[in-house]
C-alpha cells in the first residue's frame, strides 16, 4: 500500500511544476524519481514530505490521508542534497535532535537516547565522531550524519533529495552502494530523487521517470531500460543514436534508436550488411572505447565498443571501416515500438 499519490498538481507562478501526478509507491521498496532538472521530481518529494503543499490532489500514507498533515506530524525522514546539518551542534546532538524535541511524554530517557544515537552512528560508520562538529567532517560523512539523524526518529518513510549530488564521483558511488545495502537491511519505504540514470539503475527497486511535471514511465530498472515507453525515456536512460527510418521500414516515417554499445566495428564487411564509416575521433574510457563515426552521407554515429575489439582494429584503415548494428528499436509516429531487424 505504501504511499498513494493521486492527481497531485503544483504551480509556481506561471510554471506548472507537477501536472496531475498519480503514483503508488510500494511498501518497503526503494523508489527513484528520475528526471532532468525542472521535471518536478524535487517538488513531488517535498510534497510527499509535507514541506510543500499540493494545489490539488491528495497523498495517502499507508491508507491514511496525509494531505493536510504538517511535515512534523508525517513521520518522514528527509535527507537534503546539502545535508542541512545543525552547524552549532555536535554530531551526537544532530542525531539526537529528533528524539530530544519530542513532547515530554514521548521523549525517551537520556540513556536510551544515548544508546540509540550510538547505535545509529555505528550503523553509518561514524563511531568516534560523536563530539565533532559538522564543519570538521567531509561531505560523505556529513551526508551519513544526515541519514542517521533522519533515521533516529524511526520514520515510516525515508525521502532523499539528490542525496549524493554534492559529493565527488568516488564517494558518490561508494555511498550509493552503501545505501542499497542499508535498505536491504532495514527495508524502510524510501524515495530518492536523482537526475543520474546510472544511479537510479544501480540503486532503485523501481524507477519513476518524470518530465515536465508528468510521469513518463515507471517500472523496474530492467523494465524501463529494456522497454522504454517513449523516445524521451529511451534517450534519458542512456546515450542513443537517432536515425530517420527509411520508407521500407515504416511507411509513415519514424525514428530508429540505437544504443552506442549495440554497434560493432570491423575492417571487412563479411556479412554484407555493414555500413561504411570512417572514425572521426575516439576516446579510451578504461576498458571501453567511445568511437565517433561518420557515414558516407555525413551522418554521425556514436559507438561504444570493448577495448579488445578496438585493439583488434590496430592495423586497419580507420577511414574505411564497417559498422554493424546489433540491435535497435523503431519508434513509429503512432507511438508503437518495433525491433529493428537488419
Amino acid at each position: 500500500m505504501g504511499i498513494e499519490i493521486s492527481q497531485v498538481s503544483k504551480r509556481f507562478g506561471d510554471f506548472l511544476a507537477l501536472d496531475g501526478i498519480d503514483l503508488n509507491i510500494p511498501n518497503g521498496e526503494l523508489t527513484a524519481l528520475l528526471g532532468p532538472s525542472g521535471s518536478g521530481k524535487t517538488t513531488l518529494l517535498r510534497i510527499i514530505a509535507g514541506l510543500d503543499t499540493p494545489d490539488t490532489g491528495s497523498i495517502r500514507f499507508f491508507g491514511e490521508d496525509a494531505t493536510r498533515k504538517r511535515a512534523r506530524d508525517r513521520k518522514v525522514g528527509f535527507v537534503f542534497q546539502h545535508y542541512a546539518l545543525f552547524k552549532h551542534m555536535t554530531i551526537f546532538e544532530n542525531v539526537a535532535f529528533g528524539l530530544r524535541v519530542r513532547p515530554r511524554a514521548l521523549r525517551p530517557e537520556k540513556a536510551t537516547i544515548r544508546e540509540k544515537v550510538e547505535k545509529l552512528l555505528d550503523m553509518v560508520q561514524l563511531r568516534g565522531m560523536a563530539r565533532r562538529f559538522p564543519s570538521e567532517l567531509s561531505g560523505g560523512q556529513k551526508q551519513r550524519v544526515a541519514l542517521a539523524r533522519a533515521l533516529a526518529v524511526e520514520p515510516k518513510v525515508l525521502l532523499l533529495d539528490e542525496p549524493f549530488g554534492a559529493l565527488d564521483a568516488r564517494v558518490r558511488q561508494e555511498l550509493r552502494r552503501w545505501l542499497r545495502y542499508l535498505h536491504d537491511e532495514i527495508h524502510i519505504t524510501s524515495v530518492f530523487v536523482t537526475h543520474d540514470q546510472e544511479e537510479a539503475l544501480e540503486v532503485a527497486d523501481r524507477i519513476v521517470i518524470l518530465n515536465k511535471g508528468k510521469i513518463e514511465q515507471s517500472g523496474t530498472p530492467e523494465d524501463v531500460y529494456d522497454n522504454p515507453a517513449n523516445p524521451f525515456v529511451y534517450g534519458f536512460l542512456g546515450n542513443v543514436n537517432l536515425f530517420h527510418a527509411r520508407k521500407e521500414l515504416t511507411p509513415n516515417g519514424g525514428e530508429i534508436f540505437i544504443r552506442p554499445h549495440d554497434i560493432s566495428l570491423s575492417a571487412r564487411d563479411d556479412s554484407g550488411k555493414g555500413i561504411p564509416v570512417r572514425v572521426t575521433t575516439h576516446r579510451i574510457l578504461g576498458n571501453r572505447v567511445r568511437v565517433e563515426l561518420e557515414t558516407r552521407e555525413g551522418e554521425n554515429i556514436e559507438a561504444n565498443i570493448e577495448r579488445k575489439d578496438w585493439n583488434a582494429l590496430q592495423d586497419a584503415d580507420l577511414s574505411a571501416l564497417y559498422c554493424q548494428i546489433l540491435q535497435g528499436k523503431i519508434h513509429a509516429p503512432d507511438n508503437t515500438w518495433s525491433n529493428y531487424v537488419i
Binding site: H82, A84, F86, K87, H88, V101, F133, S135, R149
Partner: protein, 294 residues
C-alpha cells in the same frame, strides 16, 4: 630535506598580494584616526597625579553620571535588542506592501542630526506634547484611582534618556541581525520540522544559536553608540546633577569651566569602562561562535 624547507617557507606566505601594503595602511589609518587622539587624551590626563585623578573620577556627581549613562544605555540597548530583532525578523522573513519603505526608515536615525532627534522627542513627550499629554492624563487618572504618587513623565527624566538612546541604537541591531537572518539556510529549518520539531524548538535550538553572535554584535554597537551619545540626550533630559546627568554632558561642563584635566580624567575613565565592556561582549561572541566551529 633542506630544499623542501625553503619551499615550505614560501608556501606559508599569503598567496594574496598586497598584504604588507594593506596592513601598513590599516595600521597607519587606525593610529592616526583612533589611537593618536585617544593616546593624547590619556597623556593629557596624566597631568593629574594618581590621587587627583582618583578624586576626580570618584566624585559623587561623576559616579552618579556614570550610573545614569551606563544604566540608561544598557536598558535602551536591551529594549532595542528585542524590538530590533523583531523588525529584522519581519524584514527578513515576510513580503509585504511597503517593505522597502520600512527598510529605508530603519536607517533614518543614522542620518538625522542628534540634536534634532532630541528636540523632536522632547516636544513629543513633554507635558504639552502629543504623547506626553496623554501620559500625563493617564498618570492623573491612575494616581487618583489608586491613590498613588507615580509619575509617567518621559521627557526630562531618565526614561527620556532611555527613549533617546533607543532611537539612536535601533538601526545597529536591525542592520547586524537582518543579513544573518536572511542568510540562514531554510533547509535547516525544514530538516528540523521533518524531525518533529515545532516552531518553538526550531527557534530556540536552530535559529537562535545561529543569530546569537549577530545579536551580540548589534547589542555592542548600540551600547557603544549610546554611551557616547550627547546631542539628543541633553535636549530630552532635564540634566539634573545626580539624577539625569550623563557622562558626556559632565565632560562638556568641565570643559566649560576650563577644567581640562578634570574633563580628560572623566574621559579616560569612560574610555576604560567602555573598552572593558566591549572586550567582555567580544569574549561572549567568541564563545557563541566557537560552539559552531570548534
Amino acid at each position: 630535506m633542506p630544499a623542501g624547507k625553503k619551499f615550505h617557507f614560501r608556501q606559508n606566505r599569503s598567496q594574496l598580494p598586497g598584504f604588507g601594503l594593506s596592513l601598513g595602511l590599516s595600521v597607519a589609518y587606525l593610529s592616526l584616526l583612533i589611537l593618536l587622539p585617544l593616546a593624547s587624551l590619556i597623556l593629557f590626563s596624566m597631568n593629574l597625579s594618581w590621587r587627583e585623578f582618583w578624586t576626580v573620577v570618584t566624585d559623587r556627581r561623576v559616579l552618579a553620571a556614570f550610573r545614569v549613562s551606563f544604566g540608561s544605555t544598557f536598558l535602551a540597548a536591551t529594549i532595542d535588542l528585542f524590538f530590533g530583532f523583531v523588525i529584522a525578523w519581519v524584514l527578513a522573513r515576510y513580503q509585504f506592501f511597503g517593505k522597502r519603505l520600512v527598510d529605508a526608515v530603519i536607517d533614518l536615525p543614522f542620518a538625522i542630526p542628534t540634536a534634532v532627534t532630541g528636540i523632536a522627542l522632547a516636544t513629543l513627550f513633554s507635558g504639552k506634547g502629543l504623547v506626553g499629554g496623554q501620559l500625563e492624563a493617564f498618570a492623573h487618572w491612575f494616581n487618583t484611582a489608586f491613590s498613588t504618587q507615580l509619575s509617567f513623565n518621559i521627557a526630562f527624566s531618565q526614561a527620556g534618556i532611555v527613549v533617546a538612546l533607543m532611537f539612536i541604537g535601533m538601526p545597529f541591531i536591525v542592520r547586524t541581525v537582518q543579513p544573518v537572518l536572511e542568510e540562514l539556510d531554510k533547509e535547516v529549518e525544514e530538516a528540523a520540522s521533518s524531525l518533529g520539531a515545532d516552531f518553538r524548538h526550531i527557534f530556540l535550538r536552530v535559529i537562535f544559536p545561529g543569530i546569537l553572535p549577530a545579536l551580540l554584535t548589534g547589542f555592542a554597537l548600540a551600547f557603544a553608540r549610546g554611551l557616547g551619545e550627547y546631542g539628543s540626550v541633553i535636549f530630552i533630559s532635564s540634566n539634573a546633577p545626580y539624577e539625569t546627568e550623563i557622562v558626556p554632558l559632565l565632560i562638556v561642563m568641565r570643559l566649560g569651566e576650563f577644567n581640562y584635566e578634570g574633563a580628560s580624567a572623566i574621559g579616560v575613565a569612560m574610555l576604560a569602562c567602555s573598552f572593558l565592556l566591549l572586550l567582555a561582549i567580544n569574549f561572549l561572541q567568541t564563545l557563541a561562535r566557537n560552539r559552531r566551529s570548534a
